[in-house]
Amino acid sequence: MSEPADARSDLALMEYADGEIDGQIDGQPGGQPDGQINEETADAVVAARLARDPDARVKVAAIKQIGELVRGHLELSADAVHDAKFAAMWRRIDDQLEQPATGLWARVSRWFDRYRGHVITGAVSAGAVAALALILRPSTPDPGIPGRNAAAIDVRPVALRATPEIDSLDTPGGSSTVINLDDEDGHTTVIWLTPADTVEGI
């Protein structure tokens, strides 16, 4: 004759079916409606229930059957996956096992291998930027830093290195005019001589 059952009493059947019965749940009396805490007693209580209650026996059988169905279903699902998929998986795994497994350098190498493309792209980009910066930088040398002109040797004649200065101009029988011009091209001196016999207007 079957007995009234609730989830708690069926929990004890589940423990029994799983070989886990100990009369306790997390150190507290549990699994048994009457609070049995002794494993042997708890086991005996369930065994007694199974002996007199056919429904309890069917429930234990149902628990085991569900286990078989779930396990069988998942194993068949795994069997259904084609070997080629697992072969491809092994190749991917094998590719990732190429690097040594330990050490800082190994980790750096693995990181580099993984991001090799990004690193090379970054390095090329940085080089291009640096080259452009060199080409396009301003030609004015920084103050205090010797530039290219500081080291150059001035090969012009001494007379040309400085603006000429006219100390005196002697023009016997005539007159002279000295004109000094300063503009963006530098300094220009014009000496204008006029003979004495020159008749103005002829």
């Binding site: 079957s2 989830a7 708690r8 149902a62 396990r71 998942l74 259904a80």
Partner: protein, 221 residues
């Protein structure tokens, strides 16, 4: 195992060949998507190789591997959560709403039942409908036979919570499968009751495809 730890690639490949499908079954049971499960298994083997030197050999390689697979699968669910599952009350059984198990079983031979597409489809559907936590516990228990205590450690929760999740998961699976056989198709009736029901060796001949073998006929490593 020692060869793999010494860096022998072939030895590690042997471990892969031995355990990849079993690891996949576990991952698939939890994440419920083929490609996601493949990603989890791949990452698990890469991680296992990376930390091979940390493996002390106290447990079997697979015991170590399944923990990695399980952690990655749970992480995957957290990262790719599409729908937030509604959890049942996991710690209290006194509620009137907590139904007991039904005193019914599906049929005579689970191995034969698994040949039926409707039943397998319903198992898939039921697994999909379970919350992530309930499904993870169910898969760990049924596929790997983990103890309540080990599952509690794996999921960082109490043993009572594990028991509650497992109970609800099983009860929900039972309800959905019984719904199916309460309104069975003729094909299903035939699969469940006809032929050599009850014969443990009644799997089809050896010339069938691996995917058609019943798991009852196989032994686990």
């Amino acid at each position: 195992m020692l060869g793999a730890q010494r860096g022998d690639r072939d030895a590690f490949k042997t471990l892969f060949e031995r355990y990849h499908r079993r690891a996949y079954a576990l991952a698939f049971g939890v994440v419920r998507h083929q490609d996601d499960a493949m990603d989890v298994v791949q990452d698990a083997f890469i991680k296992a190789h990376k930390y091979l030197d940390k493996f002390e050999g106290n447990a079997s390689f697979y015991t170590w591997l399944y923990r990695i697979v399980m952690n990655l699968a749970i992480d995957h669910l957290r990262k790719h959560r599409r729908v937030k599952p509604v959890e049942l009350d996991e710690t209290r059984f006194e509620n009137d709403g907590d139904d007991p198990l039904l005193p019914r079983i599906l049929g005579g031979n689970p191995g034969r039942a698994l040949l039926d597409k409707q039943i397998r489809g319903r198992i898939d559907q039921a697994l999909d409908e379970l919350s992530e936590n309930h499904r993870s516990v169910l898969v760990m228990r049924e596929l790997e036979g983990l103890s309540y205590e080990d599952m509690a450690q794996a999921m960082s929760c109490s043993k009572g919570t594990i028991m509650s999740r497992l109970f609800h998961a099983r009860r929900n699976m039972q309800k959905r499968l019984l719904d199916l056989i309460d309104n069975p198709s003729a094909e299903l009736v035939d699969d469940l009751t006809g032929g050599r029901v009850g014969d443990a060796d009644d799997t089809p001949a050896n010339d069938e495809a691996p995917s058609q073998r019943t798991p009852a006929a196989r032994s686990r490593p």
